[in-house]
Amino acid sequence: MKKVIGLACFFGFSCQALEVTVKDTLGQPLAGAAVWLEGGLWSVEPSSLLKKYNMGQKDRNFIPHVLIIPQEAQVEFPNFDSILHHVYSFSEPKAFELKLYRDKPQAPIKFTQSGVVELGCNIHDWMLGYILVVNSGVYGLTDKQGKIDLPLNPEQLGSVNLHVWHERFEDLDKPESQVLTIKDVSQKVQYQLKQPLLEKFDFLTDETDGY
């Protein structure tokens, strides 16, 4: 059986992954939604805490815009711009500030409490980024088609809490949740948001902003 799955994976079929498609209240696929599974079988693996997580700043933007990390992970904040960034958070799970000069990296920050950490820059006030600290080992962000494949192994079947979060939620501290039963490692799930999203803002910034 494993060989068959392996072969199917080789040919690009979805396998050993829970495919979640997130749609908004109008039924349109939603990109950039954070999805994670919470429950005993899907908890944080110790090895994932050794991984390096980065929230960089490039061209006066946070990259990535949204970073999902497992609880207890450490995040570095490399500055790829030639100018100073003054990164801060007032969020409940972790309040901090860092003055980040190019080529002068600061010590990584450990996020011990789950929740949403909203990042800003005190010098470039349009810069906005999010770190989602999740109590989960299975998570990801949806693509343009609103899809995310959450890799699973055959032992991870059962009843689980599926959480969905998006930056255009009215209350950023309240992800949506649903109890889900995973019966199959290649199961496909559709999730429709319960709340309408706030309007999407496309800020147009360049190197001449900030003066």
């Binding site: 801060y88 500030e97 349009w126 147009l204 001449t208």
Partner: protein, 411 residues
């Protein structure tokens, strides 16, 4: 702040900041611009001549047109020290500070408060957002901003309250600013006795700028006035102020509106420095629209009045505007600017005509070669009409076609 105090202030701030650098963190950026020019036929006003272009017949054809160092030192989370040092070759290798101030900007969840204390530019221009108040668009600034660069500077404190769009999940950034200052009393002198001129020579703190030997300065009424301006000197002991507002929509459209009044007492003369206080006030409105990631329009207009003398013997209205288009593709940026400026003589002193007009078209093409190097070419057509030239037997009208090639290194 008088000249002496201002000099002491500027001289001590940077070494102090440098000393503190061992204990605090900071950053240093700088530029060097090497330029080849087509020189004007006349001697430039910076050398006391009648030329309206920055580099006249006595300038070098190849020079370091400007070099700058901009330092920032972080003293605490909210406090930082800033200084901009500048070298220009004209008229005779001038080194000094264009800005030196402390900034207070505490972290804020919602409304942002910011204050600057020291010597700095009011942020009226949307043309000068680059390092050391330079322009990323053209080498030579519009006449309007060139005048701000040579005669307008805040020596005092500015306070700003901002409602940043992102923190309020809004499309609009809004901010209100106000400042009180001293030491900007002679601002307006160059408008009366040289007129508007597009160029890129910024004045440093405590600088003395020459202009041409006008016929009017021979008159007894103006016998006390030097053939120069010290634009940042204090003459009447009074505070000036400005208020302004910035509004931005999704960072695509930007509006800046300012009212500036140096509150000068035109009857006061400093006999030692031979400078009058000028009563100078103006509106400044700047607008920028980004049509796309590549293309933008910038417009700016200024209108106001400046006067000196006990009975406002020199009394001039002035206005200036420009429209600029800029487009980037790959590593290139092309910018084109059209501008018109006018000084209207309102007083009854017939011996001192001040009316002038300046029209100019500037086209610039730049290429970014690497992270540090950029090269570019600029052409400027400059057409001026000045009523103070005929009394000394010169043509009222003057035309110049100016080319400049510049290689710029930035770190």
């Amino acid at each position: 702040m008088d000249i002496k105090n201002g000099k002491i202030w500027a001289l001590y701030l940077l070494p102090w900041l440098a000393y503190q650098a061992s204990a605090f963190e900071g950053q240093l950026h700088g530029t060097v611009e090497i330029s080849a020019h087509e020189r004007g036929e006349q001697t430039s006003w910076t050398s006391g001549g009648w030329g309206m272009s920055r580099f006249g017949k006595h300038s070098d054809g190849l020079n370091v047109s400007r070099a700058t160092l901009e330092g920032r030192l972080d003293l605490s989370s909210a406090w930082s020290g800033h200084a901009v040092a500048q070298y220009v070759p004209d008229p005779s290798h001038k080194l000094g500070f264009t800005e030196a101030y402390l900034s207070y900007q505490p972290l804020a969840k919602r409304y942002q408060f910011r204050s600057r204390i020291g010597a700095f530019y009011p942020r009226m221009s949307l043309e000068n957002p680059a390092l050391a108040w330079s322009s990323p668009y053209t080498y030579q600034y519009s006449a309007l901003n060139a005048w701000i660069g040579e005669e307008v500077r805040t020596f005092g404190a500015e306070f700003e309250l901002k409602r940043p769009a992102r923190r309020f999940r809004s499309k609009y950034d809004m901010s209100f600013l106000g400042a009180i200052y001293k030491g900007n009393d002679p601002a307006g002198t160059l408008l009366a006795w040289r007129g508007f001129a597009p160029h890129d020579r910024q004045s440093v703190i405590n600088e003395r700028i020459q202009f041409a030997p006008l016929y009017a300065l021979r008159a007894p009424q103006l016998a006390q006035q030097g053939q120069f301006v010290e634009p940042f000197s204090e003459v009447d002991g009074r505070f000036g102020y400005y208020v302004g507002t910035h509004v931005e929509y999704l960072k695509k459209h930007t509006l800046r509106l300012y009212w500036y009044d140096n509150n000068g007492d035109p009857s006061v003369l400093n006999q030692k420095t031979r400078q009058y206080a000028w009563d100078t006030k103006f509106w400044n409105i700047a607008w920028r629209s980004k049509l796309s990631r590549q293309t933008q329009f910038i417009m700016q207009a200024m209108f106001g009045n400046t006067a000196m003398g006990e009975r406002r013997g020199v009394d001039n209205d002035f206005n200036s505007w420009f429209v600029m288009f800029s487009h980037t593709w790959q590593r290139y940026r092309i910018s084109a600017r059209v501008e018109h400026s006018k000084v209207i003589d309102k007083d009854i002193w017939q011996f001192d005509p001040n009316a002038s007009q300046t029209n100019s078209v500037t086209v610039n093409l730049k290429k970014q070669l690497s992270a540090h190097w950029q090269v570019g070419a600029e052409w400027q057509y400059l057409d001026t009409q000045a009523s103070f030239r005929p009394p000394v037997g010169r043509d009222e009208n003057a035309y110049e076609n100016l080319w400049r090639l510049t290689a710029k290194y930035q770190f």
